[in-house]
């Protein structure tokens, strides 16, 4: 029987920076830019976490919670390089590696003892050579292994022999992949612990969660028979992106250019998740942080950048830009899987060959390998993704 080990770096970016600059160790420390920058915290050291600072929080908020916070700008090249070294250690010791993200990955072994010995060796090598710590979780499937690695952070090692008992005791929100919205939905049904999912009548669960009910039920038994870790994420209800301008602006050309970029980005991600939607929402945040949204319902389901741009521009043209804009966002909601009800959709159109070619170029060479000339207006094309759920 295969055993899986999830290896997860502890506060990866912050740990790498602290290894470079050990003199910051006694201070609360975060990676993410200065107080006045508009960035968010990418990683917070364990000392910073004592002040309530978490990844994803705005730097402004982080400095409000801890005025003595030391922050450094993220150096992604450096983290990618260190990540490569880490996973080469894992591969050398375990003979295999399945990289999940820049700071976490899995390996498998033929027995529990092998997995345990390899995990200890990997942890030691990472600590000695990379000068950072990691936590490892070992179980008979990836889902439980990933949950186990979070048990004793930092520098933890957790072995779960009995996944059934282990997961049964968990609250639903503690299960990897069960998000806030699903938790809320489960709580409304009176389900708070994973054990309760086992006992809940399946037909009622199906009524509320459709095919996702089967995944929830499997998880409740600590099983990963359909590789649920990759399927467990909440059902997508909308796909959206926002972008904060480097400088607030009222310039129509710049704002339209940004709409073009956002449309491309949202479309790319919708295609990645194989969904299309029929409601477009435009979000505008002014320089004084006042924010408003306006929606437009479309008669057919859309996912192409041209369609998303067309409808977001219709919304944009219907509003009066009253003051300099700080942030623009587009989201497409009421989504469904592409292919659903195709035969009944009289509005659906065949994708033109040029769109197929553009998609193929992006799949092969990356999202920004090809773009509309109007998108060139915006130099900083980093947009933030948002995936809203049930």
């Amino acid at each position: 029987m295969k055993w899986y080990c999830h290896v997860d770096m502890d506060a990866f970016f912050a740990s790498v920076e602290l290894a470079s600059k050990p003199y910051f160790a006694k201070f609360p420390f975060a990676v993410g830019g200065s107080e006045k920058s508009r960035t968010v915290v990418s990683a917070a050291s364990y000392k910073a976490r004592e002040y309530g600072i978490r990844a994803g929080m705005s730097m402004f908020e982080a400095f409000r919670k801890c005025p003595n916070l030391i922050s450094v700008e993220p150096d992604m090249e450096k983290y990618a390089s260190i990540s490569k070294e880490i996973f080469s250690i894992v591969e050398r010791i375990a003979g295999n590696v399945d990289i999940y993200s820049v700071d976490e990955g899995f390996f498998h072994a033929d027995s529990m003892d092998d997995a345990l010995m390899m995990a200890v060796e990997i942890k030691r090598e990472i600590k000695n050579n990379i000068k950072i710590t990691c936590s490892a979780g070992i179980a008979k499937n990836k889902l439980v292994a990933k949950m186990a690695s979070g048990e004793n952070k930092p520098d933890g090692l957790t072995l779960v022999e009995d996944a059934f008992s282990y997961i049964g005791e968990k609250r639903v929100e503690d299960v990897v992949g069960i998000g806030r919205q699903t938790t809320k939905h489960l709580n409304k049904l009176g389900i708070y612990s994973v054990k309760q999912i086992r006992d809940y009548p399946m037909d009622i669960l199906r009524k509320h969660f459709n095919s996702y009910a089967f995944i929830l039920r499997e998880v409740s038994y600590g099983r990963d028979s359909v590789n649920m870790m990759w399927n467990l994420e909440d059902e997508i209800k909308s796909v959206g992106n926002t972008h904060t301008m480097e400088k607030d602006t009222m310039d129509r050309k710049t704002l339209l250019s940004l709409l073009s970029i956002l449309s491309e980005h949202v479309s790319f991600r919708m295609k990645k998740h194989n969904v299309e939607g029929n409601t477009v929402t435009l979000t505008v945040r002014y320089s004084d942080f006042r924010t408003f949204t306006k929606q437009k319902k479309v008669q057919r389901h859309i996912s192409s950048p041209d369609d998303i741009q067309l409808y977001s521009k219709i919304i944009f043209d219907s509003i009066e830009i009253a003051m300099p804009v700080r942030l623009l966002g587009i989201s497409v909601s009421n989504v469904r899987s592409i292919g659903e009800q195709m035969k009944l959709d009289f509005y659906s159109q065949q994708k033109p060959p040029i769109a197929e070619a553009v998609d193929e170029i992006r799949r092969r060479y990356g999202e920004w390998a090809i773009m509309k000339a109007r998108s060139l207006e915006i130099k900083d094309r980093n947009v933030k993704g948002r995936r809203m759920t049930v």
Partner: protein, 79 residues
């Protein structure tokens, strides 16, 4: 910041170890190499070293293809 720099370097066993460097007409002894990593760009492999000398932190960059050293960051360790 990317300032060319003279660095007295030990090349041994396929490894590179900066020992001293000359900056602002002063010879500074590297007391501790706290971290090192590699990146790749159009010039090939770059080797980065985080080092401490006295009460200052320095980020040294060695561009392998040109065998040149640069100083890219300096900050006080007395936070």
């Amino acid at each position: 910041m990317k300032e060319p720099l003279y660095v007295i370097t030990l090349f041994s066993d396929g490894k590179i170890k900066p020992i001293y460097f000359i900056w602002n007409n002063r010879r500074l002894k590297i007391e501790n190499i706290t971290y090192n990593w590699r990146t790749v760009d159009e010039n090939g492999i770059n080797q980065h070293f985080s080092v401490i000398s006295g009460s200052f932190y320095y980020h040294l960059l060695f561009v392998t293809s040109m065998s040149r050293w640069y100083l890219t960051e300096v900050e006080s360790t007395l936070a």
